[in-house]
Symmetry: C2
Subunit: 477 residues, 2 copies
């Protein structure tokens, strides 16, 4: 078994090595596209594999961008996971700065342009991995001549980060619009660099897509006192001096209260919208969330066309409803499927996404899996919440961990979980496995977790929180 040490990806994933030739083309070299190309290459050593990438960088980690701002990662170029040279050695043709203008489905051709030169490439299999663009909220005066006012940025690309860095200055003010993972990671990064940080969230609590309000409140309570957070506030207008931002106006959703925040830097972190123009023109079905509809094999509705990553939507494992694919971890898994299948193999994804996610900011580790309560309206759910510790009481240095679990009252199955605190990310994986296994809470609460004084208590919060729901179930029945 050969292993690419650089990323922990296993090279020889499929074992087929078909003899048939089949030109494989991938549009986009993000996590999903790059992974597709890799796995296509491993699966079929005879096919050509070509990747079109409109920007100038080969595959890099978007999730790592905030850590370049914080200085934890020194050079934005360190985010590149697979260099152009790596692709060359892997015998994958990576065409950078090459924009695809059309997918000619009838002739199975991808038509692109590089430096005004038209590039055509026929495909046997095509993987669309066009990603997503930041959503820009309707803020007055945000742009001048179609470009952001100086000091206003989204955080989506290496170039964004390169452009932000000169604005990062101690004791200057930064405002972040959006309190999801990226927003809070950026808040932490700018805070670490000595900036005075304000976070503005339009919804009623931070981390609205990942956490229920009660858990989000716990997280918010752990933020440093000098980080200002406004929830239920929309940014309405920016002001500038000589084209450079100096204020942002925000307005309360509920009571109309308005505030003006002095700011030298404004970060837009209000999510993304899938980039599906090419796919739509090609005839790919676009789903209700705005992403390309794909199945377990990462196939679109068009034969030989696959799609992966942020430009797609897929079914949620629990609700069975489509959700946007917005996590790098899912993009990579879809990339494995699309790559193997595009090359003639057969790889099926799980029948839905668990949406396992984690983040860390201000030394607070958070993680979640499954839908939040607001997305479980079709279920009658019982929830439990437990405040525990990372270690037995007698062992010094124990850290708080709070877990919440969402359980289907009818079936007793675990539907979701949220964790704040010590090793939240690894703790949530245990819940993810429980959801994947459709385990009921009565069984899971008895899970024999690992115990040692220096590692974890005899009964871990992951099962103790289930006892609470179990008790509620007993009362109900």
């Amino acid at each position: 078994m050969k292993i690419i040490k650089k990323t922990n990806l296993i090279v020889n994933y499929g074992v087929f090595y078909l003899n048939q030739d089949r030109d494989i083309v991938v549009i986009g070299c993000g996590a999903g596209g790059g992974t597709s190309a890799q796995f296509a290459r491993k699966t079929n050593r005879k096919s050509s594999v070509t990747v079109f990438e409109k920007n100038k960088y080969p595959q890099y980690s978007k999730c790592g961008l905030p850590y370049v701002i914080s200085g934890v990662i020194r050079d934005p170029m360190d985010l590149i996971e697979f260099s152009q040279d790596w692709f060359k050695k892997a015998k994958i043709d990576l065409l950078l700065n090459t924009t695809v203008e059309e997918i000619d489905v009838e002739n199975q051709l991808v038509v692109g342009k590089k430096d005004n030169v038209t590039v055509k490439k026929s495909y046997g299999s095509l993987v669309i991995a066009t990603g997503a663009q930041p959503t820009i909220p309707p803020i007055q005066n945000l742009t001048i001549d179609g470009r952001f006012v100086d000091g206003v940025f989204a955080v989506r690309t290496i170039d964004d980060v390169k452009n932000i860095l000169p604005f990062v200055q101690k004791n200057k003010r930064a405002t972040i619009i959006g309190a999801g993972f990226i927003g809070l990671e950026m808040a932490d990064a700018l805070y670490k660099r000595g900036m005075l940080v304000t976070v503005v969230e339009a919804l009623s609590h931070i981390l609205p897509r990942t956490f229920d309000s009660d858990m989000a409140e716990i997280v918010q309570g752990k933020l440093p006192g000098d980080v200002t957070v406004f929830t239920n506030y929309l940014a309405t207008k920016v002001e500038n001096i000589s084209g450079r931002i100096n204020k942002v106006r925000i307005k309360n959703n509920e009571n109309g209260d308005e505030k003006t925040i002095d700011t030298d830097l404004l970060i837009i972190a209000t999510g993304v919208k899938p980039e599906v123009a090419l796919a739509r023109e090609a005839g790919c079905k676009i789903g209700e969330t705005g992403g390309i509809v794909v199945n377990e094999r990462a196939e679109t509705n068009i034969e030989n066309i696959y799609a992966v990553g942020d430009c797609t939507e897929y079914v949620d494992f629990v609700t069975k409803k489509p959700v946007p694919v917005g996590l790098g971890s899912i993009a990579v898994r879809q990339g494995i499927a699309a790559g193997v299948n595009a090359a003639g193999g057969n790889y099926k994804l799980l029948r839905g996404v668990l949406q396992t996610s984690t983040s860390e900011f201000f030394n607070i580790e958070v993680a979640a899996v499954g839908p939040v309560t607001n997305c479980l309206n079709d279920f009658s759910i019982l929830t439990g919440k437990f405040n525990g510790f990372s270690h037995p009481s007698y062992y010094p240095g124990g850290k708080p961990v709070t877990a919440k679990v969402l359980v289907d009252e009818k079936t007793s199955k675990i539907l979701g979980a949220q964790v704040v605190g010590d090793k939240a990310g690894q703790r949530i994986n245990t819940f993810a496995c429980a959801i994947l296994s459709e385990l009921d809470v009565e069984t899971f609460k008895k899970l024999e977790t690992a115990y040692a004084p220096s590692i974890a208590p005899t009964l871990d919060v992951v099962t103790l929180v289930c006892d609470i729901v179990s008790k509620k179930l007993e009362y109900k029945n």
Copy 2:
């Protein structure tokens, strides 16, 4: 929901609160006995609950003893998890220094002795939690007049630790017999105190009950260079000067090679044997591993008599064969069952023990679940091993993690796993959940684990290691 903050145990576990009175007696106030008493009290508020404990300390953590030696825990008394006062407040009669001499099954009486005074207590339900005693290997001259030579100790009680502490001295030599968790935790503790440490293991690799030899080698390779480890060596003889140990002689199992180790302190950490004399006399069935046989309700073969903890054996979840109960985590879970059931409730344990375990020594975190390869002779197994990292390659400070997984070739089910490195304890819980769910490796390898640059890579070692077995399965089929 009332919570005892001190230990994370939920107080109101059962919801029955029976009106019937039933005297509940528990013999032994370790983790299993103490938990039984607690849960009996919570389940039935009208019964009397009495605990007989032959030693002078109320419930304390045996697993914490090495950390008193290392100095991480300052005072051995800090290990006490529930004080005599706590038991009093909980309305549990805790009789310390009281040795039970007989269980009179016919008359449902426990007969004990405290300070030569006979104590009799009738029981409606009885929980036997008599624990285990250290096994003492047949080492010549280990004892004088039935007592250990000065400087020779087991590590089982607070008194052991109090007696060891005066022998802990910088630059002096310590030898540990047995390289299981306790042995290596003690080695680490004494090393931290500046002692020169030698570990002697009779079997062919360290951690023989928890780890396969290949994984144990990885652990051994991470030990500090100045910790000496002899595997395949039996201690045969000690020498003393004026009754105080100064040498231990060891002999190679295979080639008969003999060595003499200068030592000022000898720690015996070669496991335990269940303390079953009382239970046997009472007619309780003793199983093939030497422990009291108990079922899912923690019942022995005698009506109204339960048994929990190190004095029992229970069925392994995977092999369905009896195994000694040697983990505090299992004792506590049995204690819940015995306590609830002794009080008239109905609580069933999982149908077997997963043997999830973890430890940390010399800054190496290790964890395992399920049987080791040597205990899976009835299965045809495939294994995978993967060396990965805790973080994506571009994120600084990534730590190595190695995982091994054991899979049933016939059913593809995960049977066991072993992890060395970053967050091994929490990582193993995900495998524990997979085993509990009887998940096959093809499904588990697709588990969507939590990813964030500062937390974990897009594909975690827990699933990457499964890809390797999955590939082996493909070749086979």
